[in-house]
């Protein structure tokens, strides 16, 4: 009798389609951490190669092609070089923070990846294993919280270096990240409106059911995209390390592995941002037009296919990052601030209100999120998408006429001219010559 109960418990405990728990859960978590960490580090290493290759191709060059076949061993050589380099400690720097800063930017950059679901769950003998390190119920909030920690690394690096350029880089970075985080958060609220949940895995599964969110949330997607560029300090928002003005910005004083850590942090931030764009707007690991793969019952081949799909989508956004980097010049500081506060924030706020109203109206009209128009197009998705396209055209026309980014020499209107004249009469006349 006892045996029988134990056996039943055993069978219940190890149902392949129920979430894994207990000791196997712990083991699987450890394995997932190790695998994801390794894969992420290798990806980052190869992203540096990809960046150099893409920049070379865009500039009609070959890029690194000497180390290994077609230059594929270049990241190894770079890594080795960075480890062998001398660690410099500027005498004026404040050592504890100077050493802590790279760690502070490195760790948040890596741990944000923990909540991103990168494939369909894998059924094993011990139960269903989630293909994300930790599927936190507060998924996206966790990412917002950790991502804003990254700025500390940069600010502390800038401050503790005791170097004016580094300090300026750190200051710019904090201002930039704080400004763009607001619109980023607001852009994501619209995703949460549709999915009704902040956990990333349920955002993915609701996209499987109702269609990917990039279409019904087109403007939200673009806002998030721009904010993600700004958050990761990539061109055209790389003011914290603006080479032409600040030497290398916040990491001017760093060398060797400490410099490498900032580099790794930048690339893993990029990877996380691309993975987030995929997860929030492009259906995460979902394969387009193939419902069998995207839904239970799970099977290992479904996990493999969805993993490949996730990698392809993330890879596309990583490519977009590089493509944009090698196309656009850097913004001026005032342009950065005015785009952040005067363009992105009002649009994000207004958009949120409009989307909330639209969702409310659709709900009031009794249209279920899963209802399909003519049996194929999801009604909800289509209606919101059309609304977004109309809005996008409006926004585009307005921004285009008002010049999204102010030109280098702004026009001085009659009012400003009068003000300037009044100011110059109040000032003592400038001394001519020396």
């Amino acid at each position: 009798m006892n045996m029988c109960a134990a056996l039943m418990l055993f069978q219940h405990a190890y149902d392949p389609q129920a979430p894994v728990h207990g000791a196997p859960w712990l083991w699987f978590s450890i394995i997932k951490i190790l695998v994801v960490f390794t894969v992420l580090m290798v990806t980052i290493a190869y992203l540096t190669l990809a960046e150099r290759k893409i920049s070379a191709w865009i500039q009609d060059r070959h890029g690194p092609n000497r180390v290994g076949p077609r230059g594929l061993a270049q990241p190894l050589a770079d890594g080795l070089k960075n480890i062998m380099k001398e660690e410099t400690y500027p005498s004026a720097a404040y050592s504890p923070l100077f050493i802590l800063a790279p760690v502070m930017s490195f760790i948040p950059a890596l741990i944000t990846f923990a909540v991103i679901p990168f494939a369909a769950p894998l059924p094993t003998r011990w139960g269903l294993v989630d293909m994300s390190i930790a599927d936190l119920p507060v998924g996206f909030l966790y990412i917002l919280a950790i991502a804003s920690l990254g700025v500390y690394g940069i600010v502390l690096a800038g401050w503790s270096s005791n170097n004016k350029y580094a300090l300026l880089g750190g200051l710019r970075s904090s201002a930039q990240m704080v400004s763009y985080e607001v619109s980023m958060g607001l852009a994501v609220v619209s995703v949460l409106l549709l999915s009704g949940n902040v956990s990333l895995s349920s955002i993915v599964s609701s996209q499987v059911k109702t269609g990917w969110y990039f279409f019904p949330l087109l403007i939200g997607f673009f806002l998030f995209l721009v904010a993600a560029f700004a958050e990761t300090n990539r061109l055209p928002f790389d003011l914290p390390e603006a080479e032409s003005e600040l030497i290398a910005g916040y990491h001017t004083e760093y060398s060797s592995m400490k410099f490498s850590m900032f580099f790794i942090a930048e690339y893993s931030n990029m990877t996380t941002a691309s993975a987030l764009l995929t997860t929030l707007f492009f259906g995460g690991w979902a394969v387009p037009f193939w419902t069998t793969v995207n839904t239970a019952p799970w099977h290992w081949w479904k996990t493999v296919i969805t993993l490949v799909c996730f990698m392809l989508k993330t890879g596309f956004f990583l490519f977009l990052y590089m493509w944009i980097r090698w196309t656009l010049p850097r913004f001026r500081y005032d342009q950065l601030m005015s785009v952040g506060w005067k363009v992105m924030l009002p649009i994000a706020l207004a958009y949120l209100v409009v989307m909330a109203g639209a969702v409310l109206a659709l709900d009031a009209a009794g249209i279920a999120p899963t209802a399909r128009l003519g049996g194929f197009l999801p009604t909800y998705w289509t209606l919101l998408g059309v609304l977004n396209i109309v809005l996008a055209v409006l926004v585009f026309v307005v921004l285009d006429r008002g010049r999204l980014v102010s030109p280098a020499s702004a026009r001085v209107g009659p009012v400003e001219l009068a003000e300037l004249r009044a100011m110059s009469t109040r000032r003592p006349a400038p001394v001519q010559g020396d």
Binding site: W57, D60, R61, H62, T327, D400, S409, R411, R421
Partner: protein
């Protein structure tokens, strides 16, 4: 004095950020996929040197394998970098020959005056440039090393044929 800012009136299509950005991305993408690359893969792929290229020196020899130089002293005289060291000698028959003839390739500015001035067409600048060394001393080419060079020599500019045709 009021600040005068000159602002050019331009049509919106020239000042729009979004359109300029999309255009720029199209251009970079075109270059990205363009298989034509301008880089020369140096050690494998080399530039064709001009016939008038002035590089590493070469001392020509007569049929007996002796350097053609008669130690006239014109090349050390003309050399603007003062990098030719010549100690003349004379044999029993009264033929002059260089006892010591050294050119410091490191100081040389490859002006080619030595070749132009040489009455015996002995010293030449050559169509060759890969002459790096690990030490400064390695750049001092003695007579033996100068005669041992095999690269083609420079064809100097000819006033009769200014375009080298």
């Amino acid at each position: 004095m009021a600040i005068q800012v000159k602002v050019l009136e331009r049509p919106i299509r020239q000042t729009s950020y979004v359109r300029a950005m999309l255009k720029g991305m199209a251009i970079t993408f075109k270059h990205l996929t363009n298989p034509h690359k301008v880089t020369w893969q140096y050690p494998e792929q080399k530039w064709d040197l001009s016939p008038r290229w002035r590089g590493t020196h070469r001392m020509l020899t007569d049929e007996n394998g002796k350097a053609k130089c008669v130690a006239c002293g014109l090349c050390p005289q003309i050399c603007p970098a003062n990098c030719i060291k010549l100690v003349p000698g004379e044999d029993e028959e009264g033929n002059r020959y260089p006892l010591v003839y050294e050119i410091d390739e490191f100081r040389c500015i490859f002006c080619g005056y030595c070749q132009e001035v040489c009455p015996e067409e002995a010293i030449h600048v050559g169509r060759h440039y890969e002459n790096s060394e690990y030490s400064r001393a390695g750049f001092v080419y003695d007579l033996e090393r100068l005669t041992a060079q095999t690269h083609p020599v420079c064809e100097m500019w000819d006033p009769a044929d200014p375009r080298g045709e």
